[in-house]
C-alpha cells in the first residue's frame, strides 16, 4: 500500500514505530477512573486488587459497550437474583433496610450497622471502632474501607459522604500499613 499525502502535509518523524494496540494495562484503569482513586499495591491486600479488577476481566475499559448506568442497574438485580451473595445483596437498603455488614480484618464474625443514623465519617468510624473494641490509641492504625455497588473496594473517606452512602454495599476495617 502506498498512500499520497494529498495536502502536502508531512510528518516530522518516521512512521515505523509500533506499540501494543490492545491496552490490557490494568494501570490504565486506575489512572483513567479518577472518581475511584487507586490504592498502593503495597497498601492493601491482594484480595482488594482482585475484587477491584474483576469488572475489567481483560483490562478493557468500556468493552463490551454496555452503558454504565445499564450495567449498574443490571448488576444490582443479578445480585438480588443470586441470594447466596456473601456480602448481602446490592442495594440492600432498597428493600427498606439501612443495615450494612461490617467486617474487620482478621475477625471471622461480621457485624451489622445501621447506616441511616450516621451523618458523617467521624461518627461512623467511631461506632465501628467501638464495635470491634479498638481503643483510642490504636484507632490510627486502622482504616475504613468499603465495597461499592460495582464491586470495587475503596477508602471510605476518599469520597464525599453522600456519594459513599449512595454506593455503599458493605464495610471492612483494615489495618493501615506504612
Amino acid at each position: 500500500m502506498c498512500m499520497e499525502l494529498q495536502l502536502g502535509l508531512a510528518l516530522p518523524g518516521s512512521d515505523t514505530w509500533s506499540r501494543p494496540l490492545l491496552k490490557l494495562g490494568l494501570y490504565e484503569d486506575i489512572n483513567v477512573n479518577r472518581k475511584k482513586r487507586g490504592f498502593d499495591h503495597g497498601y492493601l491486600e491482594d484480595e482488594f486488587s482482585a475484587a477491584s479488577f474483576k469488572n475489567y476481566e481483560k483490562g478493557l475499559v468500556g468493552w463490551p459497550p454496555v452503558e454504565t448506568w445499564r450495567r449498574k442497574k443490571l448488576r444490582c438485580q443479578v445480585h438480588n437474583h443470586m441470594t447466596a451473595a456473601e456480602n448481602g445483596y446490592c442495594g440492600g437498603r432498597a428493600s427498606n433496610s439501612s443495615y450494612v455488614k461490617v467486617k474487620m480484618e482478621g475477625v471471622v464474625i461480621a457485624r451489622k450497622i445501621d447506616i441511616s443514623i450516621h451523618q458523617s465519617f467521624e461518627t461512623l468510624t467511631t461506632t465501628i471502632m467501638t464495635m470491634f473494641d479498638i481503643f483510642d490509641e490504636n484507632r490510627r492504625s486502622f482504616k475504613l474501607t468499603y465495597q461499592d455497588k460495582e464491586g470495587d473496594w475503596l477508602i471510605a473517606e476518599d469520597v464525599p459522604w453522600r456519594t459513599f452512602v449512595r454506593s455503599l454495599k458493605c464495610l471492612k476495617l483494615i489495618r493501615s500499613r506504612g
Binding site: L5, Q6, G13, W17, L21, R34, T68, H81
Partner: protein, 585 residues
C-alpha cells in the same frame, strides 16, 4: 427595478410560509436562498438543534436566531456512555442557560443529552423562563433533587419532565411535593433514573390525580408493585407507562387488582421498567398486550419460557428491548408472533463472563430477520457470528437503517470458517441501501472498510473497535462514505496517513473520536495548525503529550468542526492543538 419588486413578497407572507417549514435541513436551505430570506428566516426560527455544544457559542446562536423558543443541545461524545471520556471533560450547560436567560425570555423547551447540568443551572432555568414547558435531561449528570425541586416549584405550566438515564444525586424524595397544587399541565414525567427510596409516593399520586393530560409516566425502582394499581387507576389515559419494581409475593388480591388496573388503560401502547420481575405477575399484563407496540424488558431478568409467553400475547409489537435471557428459542417465537417488529435490541445479561451463560447465538437474529420483514433497527449482543448468517440477515432485511452488532469477545472470527467477518458486514452495507448507522465487531480486516466505503453512501454514523490492519481501512471510510457525520474508533491500527490525507473530510463531519489508535502527537498538531475550522483535542490523563516524542501516539483524540474556536473550559487532561492555544505547563 420595478420588475424585481413585482416578484418579491412582503415579509409577512414569507414569514407565514416559513412557519410551515419545521425541519432544520429545510430551514437551513431556505436561509441560503438570498440575503432577505436569510434575514426573515432567522427572525422566525423557533427551534434550534445543536448536535455538538462546542461547535458554536451561545452568543453566536443568539445573535443569529433572536427569537428561539426551543433548544436542543448535545455535549459529550457517544463513547462517554462506556466510560471512555474521563470525568470533568466538559459539556457544561450553565453558560448556555446564563446567556439564554437574558436573550430568550420566552424559551419554553430545553432538551439536553450527555451534558453536565448543575443545580445552579436548574435554578436558573426555573427563575428565568416564565413560559417553561419542557425539560428533557437525557443521560445527563451533575444535579440533585434540589435542582428538580426548583423546577417543580417554579414552572407553573410544566408539560414535560424527562430525566431518562441521568445520574441524579438523590437527596430527598420530597422534591415531587414541590409541584404546586395549581400544576395540572403535566403530559410526560420520567423519573425512572431516580434511586431514592423515598420518592414521595403520596405527592406522586396527587400529582397524577390532578394532571388529566398525563400520557407518559415512567416510575422509578423504589415504587413497589402494589402501588402500580393506584397510579394506573388515577391515570387510565396513559399511553406510555414504566413500572417500578415488579416483584412481590404472589397474592391473588394484589394480582387481580393489578390486572384490573391495567385493563382499564385502554390507550396503553408502551411499557417499560420491570425491575426485579416476578414472572407470576406478568399475566396481569395480558389484557393490554394485544395493543402493545413497544415493550422494554431490558432490565427484566426473566427466563426464556416466561418471555415467550408474554411476547406471544403481543402481535402488534413494533419495538422490543430484552436481555439475552430471551435466547434463540424466544427470538424464534418473536419472529412467528410479531410480524410488525421494526426494532429489536438484545442486551447481554453477563457482559463480562467468558463462557456463554445463555443459549443466544446468531440463530436468534437470523430467525427474526426471516420472520419480521419490517425490521429496521437492530442492536444485538452475542458471542458468535458467521458470514453466512450476516449475509442471510442482509438479504432478508434490505430495509435496515440501523445495525449494531456486538460480538462480545474482540476479534472473534466466523465461528464456522474462522474467516474474518468482512464478507458478512459487506453484505449488510451492500444490501441495506438506506443504512444510516453501523457498529462493527468481530475479526475484521481492511476489506470490510473497502465494502463500507464503496456501499455505505447513506451511512451517517460508524462505530469501530478492534478492527482493520492499516491506514487503508480508515482511508476507505473517510474517502468513500459521503454522508458520514460521526465516526468513533477505538483500538484500531489507524494512524497519521489516512487522517492527514482526508483532513478536509473532517470539516464535513460533526466529529471524529479515536482512542487507543496510532495517531501521533505530531499529526494532531499539524491538523490543529492547518485546519482552523476544526477543534483538535488530545486527551491524556497520564502526562502531557508534548513530554514525549512527537511520533508517539496520543491516547485519545477528539476532532470536531467548530465556528467557535477552541473551547475555554478544557480540564488539565485535554489539550487543544489550535495554534493560538499555547500548551502551558
Amino acid at each position: 427595478m420595478q420588475k424585481e419588486m413585482a416578484y418579491s413578497f412582503p415579509d409577512e407572507v414569507l414569514k407565514h410560509v416559513f412557519s410551515f417549514i419545521q425541519s432544520d435541513k429545510d430551514r437551513n436551505a431556505v436561509s441560503l436562498v438570498c440575503k432577505s430570506w436569510y434575514e426573515i428566516e432567522r427572525w422566525c426560527r423557533r427551534k434550534v438543534f445543536i448536535g455538538n455544544c462546542y461547535a458554536v457559542s451561545p452568543r453566536m446562536v443568539i445573535r443569529r436566531f433572536p427569537e428561539v423558543r426551543s433548544i436542543e443541545l448535545k455535549g459529550k461524545p457517544h463513547f462517554a456512555d462506556f466510560n471512555l471520556v474521563p470525568d470533568g471533560w466538559g459539556g457544561y450547560v450553565l453558560q448556555w442557560i446564563a446567556e439564554m436567560a437574558g436573550a430568550y425570555p420566552w424559551l419554553g423547551e430545553i432538551r439536553l443529552k450527555r451534558m453536565v447540568v448543575t443545580d445552579e443551572s436548574l435554578e436558573l432555568i426555573a427563575k428565568s423562563f416564565k413560559n417553561f414547558k419542557v425539560l428533557v435531561l437525557f443521560s445527563c449528570e451533575g444535579f440533585s433533587t434540589d435542582g428538580l425541586a426548583a423546577i417543580a416549584a417554579s414552572c407553573k405550566n410544566l408539560r414535560e419532565l424527562d430525566l431518562r438515564e441521568s445520574e441524579v444525586d438523590d437527596l430527598s424524595g420530597h422534591w415531587l411535593a414541590q409541584f404546586p397544587e395549581t400544576c395540572t399541565s403535566l403530559v410526560s414525567l420520567n423519573i425512572s433514573c431516580l434511586g431514592s427510596d423515598e420518592v414521595s409516593f403520596s405527592a406522586l399520586e396527587r400529582l397524577v390525580d390532578r394532571c388529566p393530560n398525563l400520557r407518559s409516566l415512567q416510575l422509578n425502582r423504589a415504587v413497589t408493585l402494589d402501588k402500580i394499581a393506584n397510579i394506573l387507576r388515577r391515570a387510565p389515559q396513559l399511553v406510555d407507562f414504566g413500572t417500578g419494581n415488579y416483584a412481590a409475593e404472589l397474592q391473588p388480591d394484589v394480582f387481580s387488582n393489578l390486572a384490573g388496573a391495567f385493563s382499564s388503560c385502554k390507550e396503553l401502547k408502551s411499557l417499560s421498567g420491570f425491575w426485579d420481575v416476578v414472572p407470576a405477575y406478568l399475566p396481569a399484563l395480558y389484557s393490554i398486550c394485544p395493543r402493545l407496540t413497544s415493550l422494554n424488558l431490558s432490565y427484566a431478568t426473566i427466563q426464556s419460557p416466561d418471555l415467550i409467553k408474554l411476547v406471544s400475547h403481543c402481535p402488534r409489537l413494533q419495538r422490543l428491548l430484552v436481555l439475552d435471557y430471551v435466547e434463540d428459542s424466544g427470538l424464534e417465537e418473536l419472529a412467528s408472533s410479531c410480524k410488525d417488529l421494526q426494532e429489536l435490541r438484545v442486551f447481554p445479561s453477563d457482559p463480562f463472563g467468558v463462557e456463554p451463560n445463555v443459549s443466544l447465538t446468531e440463530q436468534g437474529l437470523v430467525a427474526v430477520s426471516l420472520g419480521c420483514p419490517k425490521l429496521q433497527s437492530v442492536l444485538y449482543f452475542c458471542r458468535r457470528m458467521s458470514n453466512a448468517a450476516l449475509v442471510t440477515i442482509a438479504q432478508n432485511c434490505p430495509n435496515l437503517t440501523r445495525f449494531r452488532l456486538c460480538i462480545i469477545e474482540p476479534k472473534t472470527p466466523d465461528y464456522l470458517t474462522l474467516d474474518p467477518l468482512d464478507a458478512g458486514f459487506g453484505a449488510i452495507v451492500e444490501h441495506c441501501k438506506d443504512l444510516r448507522r453501523l457498529s462493527l465487531s468481530g475479526l475484521l480486516t481492511d476489506h470490510v472498510f473497502e465494502y463500507i466505503g464503496t456501499y455505505g453512501k447513506k451511512l451517517e454514523m460508524l462505530s469501530v473497535a478492534f478492527a482493520g490492519d492499516s491506514d487503508l481501512g480508515l482511508h476507505h471510510v473517510l474517502s468513500g462514505c459521503e454522508s458520514l457525520r460521526k465516526l468513533e474508533i477505538r483500538d484500531c491500527p489507524f494512524g497519521d496517513k489516512a487522517l492527514l490525507a482526508n483532513a478536509a473530510k473532517l470539516e464535513t463531519m460533526r466529529s471524529l473520536w479515536m482512542s487507543s489508535c496510532a495517531v501521533s502527537f505530531g499529526a494532531c498538531k499539524l491538523l490543529g495548525q492547518k485546519m482552523p475550522k476544526l477543534n483538535v483535542e488530545v486527551i491524556d490523563e497520564t502526562e502531557p503529550p508534548d513530554s514525549r516524542p512527537e511520533s508517539y501516539p496520543v491516547d485519545k483524540l477528539y476532532i470536531y468542526k467548530s465556528v467557535a474556536g477552541p473551547r475555554f473550559d478544557m480540564p488539565p487532561f485535554v489539550w487543544s492543538m489550535d495554534e493560538a492555544v499555547k500548551i502551558l505547563h
